[in-house]
């Protein structure tokens, strides 16, 4: 009778093994005078750890549970999976939304149920981004997307179309028309806005945010047109495979280009150089659709093996969704909060945030389905080949699409 009723048992059964140990602890007298009765462990990366450490103090004092934030540099995504398998993972892990598919398929994170009110308070796309197979696996706190950063001294007007951007970039008389990460292997993330503007899509969206991995649109008419654009822009020297992570920002900071397509992470350097700049939406091609970038969402996952499931869930479902926390995290990370109310407060009087929010207006969440893993490499290579001129645009698109289809098994 006990086990019959609900998935409660299913959800909480994971906590059972750990729970036994907890019980032992309390019996053997863990009351060594500390005011905390338990511990909640959070893993985060190097940029979020300091902010979280500061912010969990409130939670500690309200509920009387010690919260430990552990920093995991670089390998957080993998560390969590490995540790969770060994039953040594944290209660909560902070990460990007596109980890959700992998984590859920590993059974490493538990579904989260938000009330209707909580859901509607969040950015709609941010909720969608953490949804896998109809279940929510993470609670979002920050959004990021690419935008167009413009040196206002070199190009006073924000371009309305990509053609205007190229013209203004050439008129500025700088070495480069624009910088955007491409690299020898291409970069599907930064190429996506231009690809989308020409009407390309990666996987067919059924309208409700569910992607169909068997319908690959890299070589759809829009996709082919996009790769032909890449080839054209490569031939005219606007895009180069020699633009990579090492020079995109430095060239902009040194005034070698008037335009840069990049994200909020670039602003620290830009501000440090004392440049006059403005962030606006990436313009689409003339007569084509908007250049919608990928939306990346950061959020909190609850481990399915959380030793302190009750307080982990409490932290993620109630505490994370406070405006105060989201604002603080936003200020520390320079990203827009996922909570709509907090986002409005944050963007008020913050031109950069407004610029990136405007650029993200048409953003689509970066697909979190496992099939996406098969897209990055072939797409990037095809982009690089088209830009380098080694393969004509249409062929590059066709090759990439075929490789993706083979990998997905569609």
């Amino acid at each position: 009778m006990r086990r019959r009723t609900l998935g409660i048992t299913a959800v909480s059964a994971a906590a059972l093994g750990a729970a036994a140990a907890c019980g032992d602890d309390s019996d053997s007298g863990s009351d060594t005078g500390t005011e905390f009765s338990g511990e909640l462990v959070i893993w985060a990366d190097e940029t979020r750890t300091p902010v979280l450490k500061e912010f969990v103090k409130d939670f500690e004092s309200t509920v009387g549970v010690k919260v430990t934030v552990e920093e995991h540099v670089e390998t957080l995504r993998q560390d969590f999976l490995t540790a969770a398998e060994q039953g040594q993972g944290p209660d909560i892990v902070v990460g990007a939304h596109d980890w959700a598919g992998q984590y859920a398929a590993a059974g490493a994170v538990a579904p989260i149920t938000l009330t209707a009110d909580q859901q509607s308070a969040l950015n709609e796309t941010a909720v969608k981004a953490f949804t896998v197979d109809g279940n929510l696996y993470g609670v979002a706190y920050a959004l990021e997307n690419l935008g167009l950063i413009r040196n206002t001294a070199l190009a006073p007007e924000a371009p309305a179309t990509f053609e205007e951007l190229v013209a203004a970039g050439q008129a500025a008389g700088t070495d480069e028309v624009l910088t955007m990460e491409v690299g020898v292997d291409g970069n599907a993330y930064s190429a996506y806005p231009l690809f989308a503007s020409m009407g390309g899509y990666l996987f067919k969206d059924d309208g409700a945010g569910n992607l169909d991995p068997s319908d690959v649109g890299v070589d759809s008419p829009g996709g082919v047109a996009a790769f032909e654009k890449f080839a054209e822009l490569g031939a005219s020297g606007v895009l180069k495979t020699t633009f990579d992570a090492s020079n995109v920002i430095p060239f902009f900071v040194d005034g070698k280009t008037a335009f840069m397509i990049s994200g909020p992470w670039a602003l620290t350097d830009v501000q440090g150089a004392g440049l006059e700049y403005e962030v606006t939406a990436i313009p689409g091609f003339e007569g084509q659709g908007p250049a919608s970038p990928f939306l990346g969402v950061q959020g909190f996952y609850v481990a399915s093996g959380a030793k302190n499931a009750v307080f982990a869930q409490e932290f993620v479902t109630n505490y994370v969704l406070t405006e105060d926390l989201q604002l603080k995290l936003a200020e520390a990370g320079g990203r827009l909060p996922a909570l709509t109310a907090a986002a409005e407060t944050y963007a008020e009087g913050n031109a950069d945030a407004q610029g990136f929010a405007a650029a993200g207006e048409n953003a689509v969440p970066m697909p979190n389905i496992p099939a996406m893993d098969s897209v990055w490499e072939p797409f990037g290579r095809a982009e690089a080949d088209a830009i380098d001129g080694t393969t004509p645009g249409a062929d590059a698109a066709a090759t990439a699409a075929q490789t993706i289809r083979d990998a997905v098994g569609a």
Binding site: R3, I8, S12, Q102, A104, T241, T242, S246, V310, A312
Partner: protein, 514 residues
């Protein structure tokens, strides 16, 4: 005589004895420290292994009969721990489907799939949660409806309205007649009991606790041991367990999100052999792999030996300064250095092209890319060769060289006939290990060229080594298939082991000649 020997062996100095006692005490302390979590986790096998290791260590250093054992044991134990164990584990993994989607065990998969079927009942209430015990000690959920503030008591029998409860600002019940309400500390300590409690509100609905909140939820999925299947009552989907594949599959073969880890026999090996993506380019990659390893060893050795000989000349001045400078590439972290080199080979903005007025597309042309990785790898590797050559040169017996000189041998002949053969006896094993290292020099390729250039649509690049190629095949961008990757690693291990064995055999016959 025997007595005397035993005494010599045993009559170590007082300092030696103290050190021995201290080290053994440290081992014992370490053993206890490591044993506690093992006992806690009931890992009896682990404990047995640990006990055996400790027993061996103690026996070795407390007995007096076998002195060589004292030298052999630590090395052997470390060899087992760091060399043999990983190989065995890799081989073990290669027979499983371990990877993304197959990380947990079957129970874990069932749990996760069922948990994903819990949905909030539409229009169902949300509650603020407190937990307490009734007078009879029965665990009870004390719930406050967030919509209307009504209070409820939930037990295994179901929900009953609760009167006269006191609530705090957040809405949580702090006191209720007939109940002892847990404070948060108690809740934290006893959440295991809470996890066991299921409160039904209907045939398929119940109260689901989430943090300090709760809601009315419906569980749509259930596992039936009889058919070994999971049924979703809402959508009608039935997933049957495929215990060979480690997945729950619908009738038309759609897998549920979570699978589990199973032994799949030789499937991974078969797919390595039969996968046209792997089999096709294998020979080409292998040939370049040998070329890269041999080239790296040759260039580093030639340059290293040349500089060592120059600095070994007694007439050379300022050798200390040169030596320090030459070790620099070796002393700097190769990770950072490789990334710097990668920048220097940028076609448009790189130092190499600018300095020499070239416009070589280092990443785009196969032979240019191959030259690039060899140049950078030689720069990184020659200080090592310089160091060992210098050491070997200084250890050479001078008499044979002098004899050669007296016999009228010129510098070149003396080098060819005397110095080099003598050097090679000492250095060949190191050259072979350097070859084996470079054969699997993942960093040099991954960080420098990333396998580039890639012909359109090909998955294998011009500078790919077996290891970088296998890495990408197995892990893709982010998806992990450890079972498959392990199978590829076992293949590479066999190749390298064979090559090394053959080389060592040749060396041995060489030693006989000289």
């Amino acid at each position: 005589m025997l007595d005397q020997r035993a005494q010599t062996a045993g009559s170590t100095t007082a300092a030696g004895q103290i050190t021995k006692i201290a080290v053994l005490a440290a081992v014992a302390a370490l053993a206890v420290w490591a044993a506690l979590p093992l006992i806690g986790a009931r890992a009896w096998w682990g404990l047995a292994v640990e006990a055996a290791v400790v027993a061996i260590v103690f026996y070795t250093y407390l007995q007096r009969r076998s002195i060589p054992l004292k030298y052999l044991v630590p090395g052997t134990l470390l060899l087992i721990a760091f060399q043999i164990a990983p190989v065995v584990m890799t081989a073990g993994t290669s027979f499983s489907n371990y990877g993304d989607g197959h990380r947990t065990d079957k129970d874990g998969a069932i749990e996760a799939i069922i948990a994903a079927g819990v949905q909030q009942t539409s229009g169902g209430a949300n509650y603020r949660l407190a937990v307490g015990e009734s007078a009879s000690g029965e665990l009870t959920l004390l719930l406050t409806d967030t919509a209307d503030g009504s209070t409820w008591a939930g037990t295994e029998e179901g929900l009953t309205e609760l009167d006269g409860a006191t609530v705090d600002a957040s809405g949580a019940i702090t006191a209720a007649p007939g109940y002892t309400v847990w404070d948060l500390a108690e809740l934290n300590e006893r959440q295991a009991e809470l996890a066991e409690l299921a409160v039904p509100t209907g045939p398929e609905t119940g109260i689901k606790v989430q943090g300090l909140s709760a809601f009315e939820g419906t569980s749509t999925r259930s596992y039936d041991e009889g058919c070994d299947c999971i049924t979703d009552s809402e959508t009608g989907t039935v997933w049957y367990a495929d215990n060979e594949e480690g997945s729950f599959l619908t009738e038309d073969g759609q897998a549920a999100l979570v699978g589990w880890r199973v032994n799949i026999g030789f499937d991974n090996y078969l797919s390595v052999i039969t996968d046209p993506d792997i089999r096709g380019p294998f020979l080409g990659v292998f040939a370049w792999n040998v070329m890269f390893a041999a080239g790296s060893v040759l260039f580093t050795f030639v340059i290293g030996l040349g500089t060592a000989m120059a600095l070994n000349k007694p007439s050379m001045r300022g050798t200390k300064v040169y030596r320090t400078l030459m070790i620099l590439p070796y002393a700097m972290p190769s990770f950072a250095m490789l990334l710097v080199w990668a920048q220097m080979f940028n076609r448009d903005y790189g130092l190499v092209n600018e300095l020499f007025g070239l416009s070589v597309n280092w990443y785009g042309e196969t032979w240019a890319a191959r030259a690039m990785v060899l140049i950078a790898n030689t720069w990184l590797g020659w200080p090592y060769m310089f160091l060992i050559s210098l050491g070997a040169l200084q250890a050479l017996p001078t008499d044979s060289l002098e004899a050669a000189k007296i016999d009228g041998a010129t510098g070149v002949t003396a080098f060819r006939k005397i110095t080099l053969p003598l050097l090679l006896i000492a250095l060949t094993p190191l050259l072979i290990s350097s070859f084996a290292f470079n054969f699997n020099n993942f960093n040099a390729i991954q960080l420098l060229s990333g396998g580039n250039p890639f012909p359109a649509g090909e998955s294998v690049g011009g500078t790919d080594l077996l290891i970088t190629y296998a890495f990408r095949q197995a892990f893709g961008a982010t998806t992990a298939d450890y079972g498959f990757a392990s199978a590829v690693s076992v293949f590479i291990f066999l190749i390298v082991a064979t090559i090394s064995a053959v080389m060592f055999r040749t060396t041995r016959s060489q030693e006989d000649v000289y």
